[in-house]
Subunit: 215 residues, 2 copies
Amino acid sequence: MFDIGLIRVITLDDPEALNCHGHLIERAYPGLSVESACIPDQPEGIHSEELGQIAVPKIVELARTRFVDKDMILISCADDPGLAEVRAALPGKPVAGAGECTVALAMKAGKRVGVLGIVDWPPKAYREQLGDSLVGNYRPEGVNSTLDLQTNAGRAACLRAARQMAEDGCDVIALGCTGLATIGIAGELQRETGLPVIDPVVAMGAFAAYGAAHR
Amino acid sequence: MFDIGLIRVITLDDPEALNCHGHLIERAYPGLSVESACIPDQPEGIHSEELGQIAVPKIVELARTRFVDKDMILISCADDPGLAEVRAALPGKPVAGAGECTVALAMKAGKRVGVLGIVDWPPKAYREQLGDSLVGNYRPEGVNSTLDLQTNAGRAACLRAARQMAEDGCDVIALGCTGLATIGIAGELQRETGLPVIDPVVAMGAFAAYGAAHR
């Protein structure tokens, strides 16, 4: 068994919510075992630069204390907060962020990548690595945080945004928030638009599966 | 079960040799099922531009006739021969090449990528996508084709080349030939150098595993 430590960047008391991303990965990739932990005192997660900065030392602390003996550490946020810092703190430990994994899969799936997210700009790795392949950033109407995604109105707004992305000529949809993984909407968006959709949590799982196959 | 058609670009009569890459993927990623087929009349595989050009129509033919109903098609060669042509021939069908998958994983694993292969230049995707991250191309002494890898001398030369790559400051080793997957040397190189090593066949498997998780 390949043991993964997964860091949630939103404070979650409910074990089912806490373990949701881990369970997605375990279901998708037999042979991976995921333990999840969340940062304290950030009940809204990260949806601003400032909240991201506050989160970084907490993420590093979790990696160093809870997950130092894991085979791999995953940071379950499309903005990859603390990714460089965790790598610096634990040299040689495989660490991956949801954003960079999504970008890597999106670049293989198409040439015109649209980002569907909850803020008005694409996450860091998407901005820095997609280059000319980035068609644009799409925020579903009325959705401003990961919590808004969990309503019927939020889900419908995501579907409308995805249809718009297809009309605008995107040939792949990269989800720009792991909250979209939480609501498990990638398959539905894929069927609705006919485009490949990259889910950040399942994308991290692919890289972890490679690590497991290959240690 | 997620059904994959895998195209070998070397003519192989022995079923064990033919299925070797498929078995690697099946062992590494439970839930994937791989059927392999090889192109005719190329017993030395592809180790020149000319051999590559001769192979392309045969690869497209295999994809169209044998694998049109598969969930995904993999082209098991680090130079990705026929990849664009198969995509053009079968719109909407997921198709991946060993080279592009290796590059995607290598770019996430490090910033200074060395390519270990059997010719004097890196395969296409490595040249085009690694950019400034490409440290150099390394050919083990005395190795000129995939068949040379299967000798003790060939294996020892690979280990020497990998040590040189580490000394030269590479922080990840991308294997530039699927023949290196056939001889299963990635783990040994990883232990020998302490660097992450990207195996082209196992890399394709990671993308297939994502496809399976996410259809």
